[in-house]
Amino acid sequence: MTGPSHDNENSSLPDITDDLVMWRRVPPDKVVYDDNQKRKRPTSDQFKDNINGTPMSVWDAKRCAGVEKVLEGYEHFYVASVTAAELRDSGMTIVRSEKDGVGHCEVIGPKTKSIRSDWAKSSQWVVGPPDDILK
């Protein structure tokens, strides 16, 4: 499923199409080894709203200024990706907020445990952990 979206609040910003890759920062302590997938991946707990109530942050991989920008100040963190389509298929609305810089977006909607688990398992590393941790 690929095409334009009407999630954007600010019409002056480009649409978030379903094929867009969205990046999510991952702290090192939120990585698990999944023996079912034979790989490390983020824990499901990394895909939820902030404790202050603001929605989960992601970055538009095309529009932001690279992973270095996403990891600015968090150089020891990792970055995982999911597509806009995966988020929308779970009933989410993706809004460009740009409050944390160009390309910053917020994922709005109820993130059940099943949804978060699905995202964690389907996510791909952009900047991943080294092989020598966890397993």
Binding site: P27, D29, K30, V32, D35, D45, N50, S114
Partner: protein, 160 residues
């Protein structure tokens, strides 16, 4: 909670908290008694020591430091359901100051979450079967038996 997953080798029992022995006591022919700690408690303790050092905002999104009450609650849970030979959980801190115990093996994903506010709950995912969720207190035997199933399906040696 749907019971559709409770088939084949998975447990059918739901109910009261079981009491497991968490230490092996070995009596050798020369009458020496040896007590050993299970591998999972060694791994859990080591991990917790690291996580207790996490400062506030360790995730960059305002996370709270790990709550000691959650650690104790998780430890009590493990002592109540884990026998000596079961697989050690992976321990992940949550942004609320809680922690999550995770097992991802044998085609099953189990996550048990302890939060500073609210009751411990679990999540279980098994292939195309419907996901299961519930409160830990109501499903201790189910979780214990499921972890035994995972142990049986996992051919990795127990870490020492």
């Amino acid at each position: 909670m749907s019971n559709s997953l409770l088939t084949n080798n998975l447990p059918r029992t739901l109910g009261e908290t079981p009491r497991m022995s968490s230490f092996d006591i070995i009596l050798t022919p020369d009458s020496t008694i040896t007590a050993t700690s299970p591998a999972w408690i060694v791994a859990f303790t080591k991990r917790i020591q690291t996580l207790l050092d996490l400062p506030a905002n360790w995730d960059g999104d305002g996370a709270e430091s790990l709550s000691l009450s959650c650690v104790i609650e998780a430890l009590e849970f493990l002592f109540s359901i884990m026998s000596h030979d079961l697989l050690a959980p992976q321990v992940v801190p949550t942004s609320e100051g809680g922690l999550q115990l995770e097992w991802h093996t044998g085609g099953i994903d189990i996550e048990v979450t302890f939060t500073p506010r609210g009751r411990a709950n679990f999540f279980l995912s098994h292939g195309s079967s419907p996901d299961l969720e519930g409160e830990v207190a109501d499903h201790a035997i189910f979780l214990s038996t499921t972890l035994r199933t995972l142990r049986a399906r996992d051919d990795r040696p127990i870490a020492r």
